[in-house]
């Protein structure tokens, strides 16, 4: 904590209140993770009777053993990776050039195109027309449909466009004087200088794709193509409906609750591992030293 000797009494009080609030917020954010992890490692009986609070009760890996042997789990896991990686790459391929074009003053009709992009944030056709559109394009039940169908996000375009606009014009001009064409200006100057913004939209894309549930459920009928989130829902439904499973003593080692919690833990781990990997790009001052303002 910073030296508080120079703070007034009121300021000290304010700082302490803030620290308490931040602490509470951190706990509130962290607790669901701890709880789910604890449930996934508890016995089915313990989880069902609601005695798990912070740490596993009657600790067991039974729930994990149950899901890890299910080939559908691994298949949906693989599908989620395909949708996440493919969808994120597709998004970046479309969003970056779009944002760059919209950020350039020389784009003819720039205001109009910007308005058109922003328009899609407020208004869209709705679920049924979108489904019909995907059907007519032959994109139902297809990996490519999920990857391309949600690749363009107006919010990400505007976010990146604003970042591009904040890059001093002289970088572009210097590159053009050095002989770069528009693509080279984007690829060799703007993209390297925009790593924090691109990392941000990459994170948005990855998280949105990884957690993608609703449209995958609507557009995918083939169980071999469903992602992890849809598999999770299917498992919850199946285990809840299986009265025999719920009532047998065999199930005391694991239950619907512990299996669901185990699937959630398995689905969270890759995202948790991904964030530290891109965190280094969230560094300020990437433009430092390039221009003298």
């Amino acid at each position: 904590m910073a030296n508080m000797n120079l703070y007034s009494r009121g300021d000290k009080f304010f700082v302490r209140i803030n620290m308490v609030l931040v602490g509470l917020f951190t706990l509130a954010t962290l607790y669901p993770f701890i709880y789910i992890a604890a449930v996934s490692l508890s016995s089915g009986m313990a989880a069902r009777s609601g005695v798990v609070v912070l740490t596993p009760v009657e600790a067991t890996f039974a729930a994990y053993q149950q899901i890890l042997v299910d080939p559908d789990f691994w298949n949906s896991y693989l599908n989620t990776f395909i949708y996440t990686i493919g969808g994120t790459i597709m998004s970046l391929l479309l969003v970056i050039p779009a944002a760059y074009a919209l950020s350039r003053p020389q784009l003819i009709g720039r205001r109009f195109w910007n308005l058109m992009v922003a328009f899609t944030m407020w208004f869209n056709a709705g679920m049924i027309p979108f489904w019909l559109n995907m059907r007519d394009l032959g994109l139902l039940d297809s990996y490519f449909g999920i990857i391309i169908g949600f690749a363009v996000n107006a919010f990400n375009i505007i976010l990146l466009r604003n970042f591009f606009e904040s890059i001093p014009r002289s970088f572009e001009e210097a590159a053009r004087m050095d002989g770069a064409n528009e693509f080279q200006v984007l690829w060799k100057v703007f993209i390297p200088l925009s790593k924090p913004a691109i990392a941000t939209i990459t994170l948005f894309c990855v998280v949105a794709r990884w957690n993608g549930f609703f449209w995958a459920m609507i557009l995918l009928q083939d169980e071999g193509k469903i992602p992890l989130q849809v598999y999770l829902r299917k498992t919850i439904a199946e285990l809840s409906d299986d009265h025999e499973f719920s009532s047998t003593l065999l199930s005391s080692l694991y239950s619907a609750e512990t299996v669901n919690a185990a699937i959630i833990v398995c689905s969270i781990i890759p995202v948790l591992l991904f964030y530290p990997f891109i965190q280094k790009y969230f560094n300020k001052g990437i433009l430092l030293g390039g221009v003298k303002e």
Binding site: A175, D178, G289
Partner: protein
């Protein structure tokens, strides 16, 4: 010939015209400085030569080729920007090599040329550093290296030293001058600093409100300004001005201001008919003599302030209610300056300008 010619160049933004049909010929290997106050159109003119701004009318020729519709990268010009515009994600070597890489030069050639340029600019030991790890002067040298390495036909400098501190500016100014001597590349340099203009230029172009006021060698502009604007812009401190009235007496002309009467030199376009005409007298601070005891011709003054510059000092006073500055030698002692009570200047050092439009009344032999 790798010269640059501007013919009737106009630049408009919508209905607002900011450059009003300027003409300029920059000869091969010449170092021309565009100077003028902020907003006078000098940077816009430079950017039009670079191809970063389209021209609204007129014709730009580089090396006998009209480049009105040629992209910047195909004009064979290099530019040094005011804010350096170094690529912060690349190190010094990569920054200098950027243009060569874009042009797909061979790796060996790039290495060789970068090494040469780094040697010239004293950057060899900094090649692996990023711009953020360099001082202001080193960054500006990298920016120049990026321009030099391509061996362009024309160098364009857009106020390259304005972000440096005074000492570094003086040092870099000398380096640019030396570099121009060594490379002999046609250069156009924009600055608002008339000291930079005077020290660097083969010829200076003084601009004001999108027009060229005067083109000439530094000494030409200093000694023979065409109008009051050029006179007051060139020279540091600027030329002093006194509002006066012409008085014809016999075959002589006098300038009358307050209780004073100064005999005017013989000037073309100014004669006995101009009795009563309003004029502005211009006198450079270094052309004024000081006196401790006023004689009959002297102008009595009271000193407001003495600014010491070491071997020289600036005496601040007031004449006819307007600030008046005298530059004089200190001779290592200020005591004799504190006693200054009067000023005296020779009529042949006076410049006389029209009181309405500011045009100079020059000696007949100076006018073409």
């Amino acid at each position: 010939m790798s010269g640059v010619t501007l013919e009737k160049i106009v630049k408009s933004y919508g209905k607002i015209e900011v450059v009003h049909g300027i003409d300029l010929v920059v000869a091969e290997k010449e170092f021309v400085v565009l100077v003028g106050p902020s907003g006078c159109g000098k940077s816009t003119t430079l950017r039009m030569v670079a191809g970063l701004e389209e021209i609204s009318a007129g014709r730009i020729t580089i090396d006998d080729r009209v480049v009105n519709e040629v992209a910047p990268k195909d004009r064979d010009v290099a530019m040094v920007f005011q804010n350096y515009a170094l690529y912060p994600h690349l190190n010094v070597k990569e920054n200098i090599a950027f243009g060569l890489r874009i042009r797909k030069e061979s790796k060996a050639n790039i290495e060789k040329q970068v090494a040469e340029v780094a040697e010239i600019l004293g950057l060899t030991e900094y090649l692996e550093r990023r711009p953020a790890d360099l001082s202001g002067g080193q960054r500006q040298r990298v920016a120049m290296g990026r321009a030099i390495v391509r061996h362009p036909k024309v160098f364009l400098f857009d106020e390259p030293l304005s972000n440096l501190d005074a000492k570094l500016r003086t040092q870099m100014r000398a380096e640019i001058k030396r570099l121009h001597k060594r490379l002999g590349v046609t250069s156009i340099y924009v600055t608002h600093d008339q000291v930079e203009a005077m020290t660097l230029a083969d010829r200076i172009v003084v601009m004001c409100d999108g027009r060229i006021e005067q083109v000439g060698t530094p000494m030409d502009l200093f000694n023979h300004p065409k109008n009051l604007f050029v006179a007051s812009f060139i020279g540091s401190p600027p030329m002093n001005q006194i509002q006066a009235e012409v008085e014809a007496s016999g075959d002589k002309l006098f300038a009358k201001f307050g209780a004073h009467r100064l005999e005017l030199p013989m000037l073309h376009e100014l004669g006995a008919n101009d009795h009563g005409r309003k004029v502005t007298l211009g006198i450079r601070p270094e052309h004024i003599m000081t006196q401790a005891d006023p004689d009959t011709d002297a102008i009595e003054v009271e000193l407001d302030l003495i600014e010491t510059l070491g071997s020289e000092a600036l005496l601040h006073t007031t004449v006819m209610g307007k600030p008046f500055v005298v530059k004089t030698e200190t001779r290592g002692d200020l005591s004799h300056l504190e006693n200054v009570r009067a000023l005296h200047f020779k009529p042949d050092m006076l410049k006389v300008f029209d009181g309405v439009n500011g045009d100079v009344f020059d000696h007949p032999e100076r006018l073409k």
